[in-house]
Amino acid sequence: MTEAKKNDRILLAHGGGGQLTDELIRRHILPSLDNETLSELGDSANLNVASKSLCFTTDSYVVKPLFFNGGDIGKLAVCGTVNDLAVAGSRPVALALSLIIEDGFEFKLLDKILAGISEAARQNNVNIVTGDTKTVEAGAADRIFINTAGIGVKLDCADLGYDKISVGDKIIINGTIGDHGMTIISQREDIKFQSNLQSDCAALAGLTCELLENTTGIKFMRDPTRGGLAASLNEISRSSGLSFEIHEADIPIKPVVQAAADMLGFDVLTIANEGKFIAIVSPESADDCLRICKNHPLGKEAKVIGEVCQSCDVPLVEMKTQIGGKRIVQMPYGRELPRIC
């Protein structure tokens, strides 16, 4: 009987590369994520991909709380990286997974997170092919940090880039905004409140690949995570040198999300999403794109929210408000604080 069997928590020794590490991998990680490549447990994974253009990305996940309505840090770690590959116009092929776990972290929570990772990977036809685990002293990693890196094969039909965007292109979003960020905020220690809020955490590769393979007018895509729609639109505007006009009345927002944001004084445009993407498409292809989205479970509330315009002096993102006024949508500060005034 080894130490690990008697323990229900991570010990520093689980990161030591010896017996306990072996136990951790064989008892917890492989059973959840097992596939041919991973079970070789090599230093690197051998992948056979056709000699095509590859997309490669990485992201780290430090979300608190670890478990939230609609997902957990594990599901997020898969979906987030898959989405970065998806909006770049690729089909995700493989993920690497790194875990940094605190001494004292319960195995039953780790197993739950691994199950979340496994489920999300399986649903999206992507394998975790290689990984690493480290353990640190209690307090050094806020329970658990996760990093995933991903490789995708670029679709032949994908021709995306800032330089492809033109005046007159339409801006589409596949559904409601602010769901993930407000859900996390509602479970933050300092703000906590009960709610029907639900994270929209989901992997979008299925939908983005379907769009790319069945239409010809997609110029650019991005997933509006941190900083929300406001940050993403500003980034794209700045990099493309073009201005955008969006219409407040057309931006889909759930009433529960709007009400929570109103109570705290937040602007929903700046709140993170984890199951949404913006697509900038030619005006002729907008209808087809919408149709494809609406026929997909992750795009039922898709909408055209605006268009690309010529810039006057500097590229700007402007919004036509519900009452017909106009205002700028700025790059958010980077930290939303609740206010009473």
Binding site: Q194, I253, P255, V256, M263
Partner: protein, 80 residues
């Protein structure tokens, strides 16, 4: 200087209330509004109910109130 939103009292024990705003449930105090009752729509500011909301009057000018009523009928509706 006064962010305040309408919410309905769904629990009330003395001056400790739980209010619901479109599916979000917040703790609030009714110390400043002793006449508040269960089921009332009230205005919440910084965790306190500061006024009853006259729903009939509100419907004339307050889009949010109209949305609250609509929400109660069809909670899955998305705005936008």
């Amino acid at each position: 200087m006064c962010l305040a939103i309408p919410a309905r009292i769904i629990e009330l024990d003395g001056d400790r209330a739980v209010v619901d705003a479109m599916g979000n449930r917040w703790k609030a105090k009714t110390t400043l509004l002793p006449e508040a009752k269960l089921g009332d729509l009230v205005l919440i500011h910084a965790g306190f109910a500061i006024s009853l909301v006259d729903e009939e009057e509100a419907k004339k000018t307050w889009q949010l109130i109209a949305e609250i009523n609509e929400f109660q009928d069809t909670p899955d509706k998305i705005s936008g």
